[in-house]
Point group: C2
Chain length 126, copies 2
């Protein structure tokens, strides 16, 4: 497989986009980018998701070795989820998609915190 050969179908790319693109999976991965999170923390991060759906997605991501589930022997036991090296390596994908969403999906009034001083550019200031 050559990285730049886009004139042929790539089953690995297809598998990767299906993994990241499955409903809520990308947002779950994004929630874990800053460190381990408990089930309840992820659930509160995604208000629309049911516990059942979240549980299913976490199991799938664990089966894909993108995250690991840790059970801490507290009282009551606390379960947390953490990215593996494979999962952490998706950070550039998540970051680029965040950048794109910020640029093209967010309404203009939310585009004020641009890193490259684009506020000036928008106002016509060089």
């Amino acid at each position: 497989m050559e990285l730049s050969a886009r004139d042929s179908f790539c089953p690995h790319f297809q598998k990767a986009i299906e993994l990241v693109g499955k409903r809520w999976s990308g947002t779950i991965l994004r929630a874990l980018m800053d460190g381990p999170r408990r089930f309840s923390e992820i659930a509160s991060h995604i208000p629309q998701i049911s516990d059942r759906s979240l549980s299913l997605r976490l199991k799938e991501l664990e089966a894909q070795e993108v995250i690991v589930r840790r059970v801490e022997p507290t009282q009551p036991v606390s379960v947390s989820y953490e990215l593996t090296a494979k999962g952490r390596d998706l950070e550039s994908v998540i970051t680029e998609l965040e950048r794109w969403a910020h640029e093209w999906v967010a309404p203009p009034e939310e585009r004020t915190e641009r890193p490259e001083g684009a506020i000036g550019a928008e106002l016509g200031i060089p």
Copy 2:
């Protein structure tokens, strides 16, 4: 919206991942990264997709202003699809996901064309 604030749900990110992650959409976008393609060229790029599904996905991507549909007045008319500026700006997302798929999804025997001379590393050559 702050780009790095990942402790709260971002509806724009969710919308972006749903757009790119919808079945076949990522692979359709990847097929268009190197330039405009006709319907039949995209269809042959993704052997598993039906014409009906491809047509539906293209309409959705057009509605999201990620691609444009061009009808050329040839005999018979030829229809081609091209990325808009919004669509082209997804290239970094696609590229990063290709890199990740190459690194983590492709079987080891397909990981020979590594840009950083990793063939030597795999063979134990410094």
